[in-house]
Symmetry: C3
Subunit: 205 residues, 3 copies
């Protein structure tokens, strides 16, 4: 139940991040909806297609679609106030990433994959919605050059498998990595951390 609530909050946050990106590009209402849709569901769709789990989750459970529709509607109506909501959005988004990572991980485990592949699948689940959003908006995906995002997912994934070695309650093995992903994201954004640059004059670039 809590799990489901957090997942839906993640969908809301991802949808709104899609709406914000789409409105910067001045897309029409339908374009905005599509971008919100792929941001929220693109990562999970790619995950399911790569794993061969079809039809994909959102086709058989319409609540994802309804939540996206509602979020887009609200975000468009309240578009002038969205900047005041940035903090709460960041919160949802970060919860969403943490949760998507671990949900992806567990789908990988259930498919019998080895840990490194489960982490890959978890990271794809959490990050590729945003990647497809940026490609559709004709931008280089932001996670490739600006933010600590995927790195948080990978660390969360490693954490999951380390915890799994110990005789710990399953719910903690599920919850702690989510907290780890969220913490890393928070600290990274709070202290403006990014991955070390490989380019000399990157500071000016």
């Amino acid at each position: 139940m809590l799990y489901y609530a957090i997942e839906m909050l993640g969908i809301v946050a991802f949808s709104i991040s899609g709406v914000l990106t789409a409105m910067e590009k001045r897309l029409d209402p339908f374009g905005i909806f599509i971008i919100a849709f792929v941001t929220a569901l693109g990562g999970g769709t790619l995950r399911d297609v790569i794993l061969g789990v079809e039809p994909v989750a959102w086709l058989v459970n319409p609540s994802y679609m309804y939540v996206i529709m509602g979020s887009v509607f609200l975000a468009v109506i309240l578009r002038k106030h969205l900047r005041y909501l940035r903090t709460s959005l960041f919160l949802f988004d970060t919860f969403g990433i943490g949760l998507y990572t671990v949900v992806g991980l567990e789908k990988g485990v259930n498919a019998g994959l080895i840990p490194i592949m489960c982490i890959t699948i978890g990271t794809i689940s959490a990050c590729f919605g945003g990647v497809i959003r940026d490609i559709l908006c004709n931008e280089i995906p932001i996670i490739f050059h600006k933010e600590i995002y995927a790195t948080a997912c990978v660390v969360g994934g490693i954490c999951y498998f380390i915890l799994d070695l110990f005789p710990i309650n399953d719910q903690l093995v599920f919850a702690i990595p989510i907290v780890v992903v969220i913490l890393i994201r928070f600290l990274a954004v709070r202290f403006k951390l990014s991955l070390p640059s490989l380019y000399k004059n990157a500071a000016q670039g």
Copy 2:
């Protein structure tokens, strides 16, 4: 038979729209062919992959490929005359969209999906070929910001399910939504209709 003929005309129209976009970007002959190919078959491929219907249709029925090859060949040969054909092209394209929408819808129905998901699948079938075309050509997909296109598919889809509630001949349930999609597209283009803009100075933008 008529069904098949219209589908192939749709393939022709989509291929030629791909050739036109690719030539604007000055791609080489192979690039032009690929763009035509994804424009014509990208939407259907994405539909089949999401539904888990594999191998995808064009792999087992080569006539799609032959029709695309012929269309590309003719379009490249006649490239200087294509502008005179714009009206007929628009006609084919619009038929193609209408038909693809309903074909996608019915694939969704056969897969046991609920109406809203069938409409989503139908819209993806009809529109995502053009989306992939524009992404490969490094443009923001035109359907996200310029034309009433996907909206026509959605309305056609709703129409299909309304008709389905009544004791009407199956062929009419199939045909009327196609006509609806075509009509909306025609009216939208004829009267330069677009979705309402969310941006104040969009008229100048």
Copy 3:
């Protein structure tokens, strides 16, 4: 064994070409890794998804991932020396393309597809990693407008099916098309051949 070694060299070459493209765009280390990953495995993943062979190969065999990680690590460390390695890289890359083409072809044959579709699948396997790389880096895919690349794959594929008509050793039917692909690529690059242009002032363009 030789087969496997060449495939891994292909992965190395594709990864490094991904690193080079990603570094030109000044991506961060994680972005560089992702680009290398999709360049090396994107074509094969698309092939497997279209054919319905899931989970895709790299999910169940982690050696692909390890080879990519190693290649990216080395390429980043040695980034200042990579230009001296361009010749060897081109060599690997060309071997990789030849091999990927024929591996893709044979997957098509095993799936019971007709020759033209097998050639399509082989070309997708060899070329679409690079296409996805360029899209993620916000460029029009280079193979659509600059190099003879896909054409070499198509010719190699045709060669495979011609050889298959004769009572020749299976290993030769496998090896000769690879050599053909490599030869065409070499000659094209050596003599700066490209597909005929359809545009009048393309030479200046």
